[in-house]
Symmetry: none
Subunit: 129 residues, 4 copies
């Protein structure tokens, strides 16, 4: 699991870490039960402050994506499987859809784009190791 952080981005670094972790978990790159690097290790590897990594982990934990292991380590949790997207993401989706529509994209093209996003880097899912 390699993180690519953009220090010049408007997205906070802790959010970038969190997002890429979620992406990794969804893609199967990070399997449930797998141990995540320690805060210290990840901070050192990425060249960011420990507080930043800590914040990302706290957010992921709060969202149920990761959990604290038996001896204090951090491991990937099993998929929660709510069955539906939280309203917050649905709202974001509506805005993106509105922008797509105004950019001239028709419904089918947008749906195709969404399917592509869904299948992003999850092709060789059980096969890539």
């Amino acid at each position: 699991m390699l993180l690519r952080l953009d220090m010049a981005s408007q997205t906070p670094i802790y959010r970038q870490i969190r997002d890429q972790m979620v992406l990794g978990i969804a893609a199967g790159e990070l399997a449930p039960g797998e141990k995540l690097p320690t805060i210290r290790a990840l901070a050192g590897q990425c060249g960011v402050n420990m507080m930043t990594v800590n914040k990302a982990y706290a957010l992921l934990r709060q969202e149920g994506y990761i959990t604290t292991g038996r001896r204090g380590g951090t491991v990937v949790a099993g998929s929660p499987g709510f069955g539906a997207l939280p309203e917050r993401y649905a709202a974001a989706l509506r805005i993106i859809a509105a922008e797509a529509r105004l950019a001239g994209m028709d419904e089918d093209a947008f749906a195709a784009l969404c399917r592509e996003a869904y299948n992003y880097n999850s092709k060789g899912d059980g096969d890539d190791g």
Copy 2:
């Protein structure tokens, strides 16, 4: 066009205004050429500062959604149709898709959700009750 602002949200107010305007334009609630409320009027109506509305309008103008003529007044621009969505939206879409996948949605359910977002409140335009 009625705005619902959440003062407690993490999303900046000017961003909320901008997002809802984009939604309104995409839904046809705000037609091209239609006059938007003045900065002062909207500020008063929403209970926020002029500068905040100004920032939202400036953002929309920069994105090409509205134009501010020399005659005073701000109007909805005709959809230029920029072609494709910037890569930036694809990234946001991938993250939402990842969350949906982890929430237990399969590809078809997600695609259906995306289509729904695309058609959000743009069906029975004169019929919405």
Copy 3:
């Protein structure tokens, strides 16, 4: 002499009128001594307020490009010919040059662009009237 005004431009309308008049005079399209349309006529033709045209004419008069004729009409003045650009324009030129340089344009390309601007629509100079 046909004016093309952009109501959505950031440039004030009176400034657009003034600029295009200067362009027309420099191109020879408006010859010294030639009579300009009355404020009322130009305002009606362009669909702008008389005050706006008045402001443009006042500016041109103050800069010496036009003068008041014997019976109150407005006519193109003879070229003042200071021999040098006012410092104000030199400053604007330096800024444009800086932007060009940062955009990757080398000195020769920029000089060529400037020559092109100088000769803009002045080809058939003494031949079109």
Copy 4:
């Protein structure tokens, strides 16, 4: 990098700051990667409000001349080299050229002036400090 602001000028202060920054970058006085003064520092030094400097920085950022990382601080961006100048500058150039022509400058004199503007204070770059 010393800024000279004219409070009585018609040019907005934030525009003056932006212009002089562009000049400074083009002249090499501000090198890529160099750290710019903080908003507060520059505001204090120039005797203007924070928001004014903020607006200038926002404009420069939007134009790609500077970047504001997540680490705080604002730095000069490496010149991307956008290719050619936008049409917008060509229009401004044509007007300046028209004024030069009416001031009595011939094409060569104008081209020389343009070259001078291009090389404005970027000669003895490594020789003055």
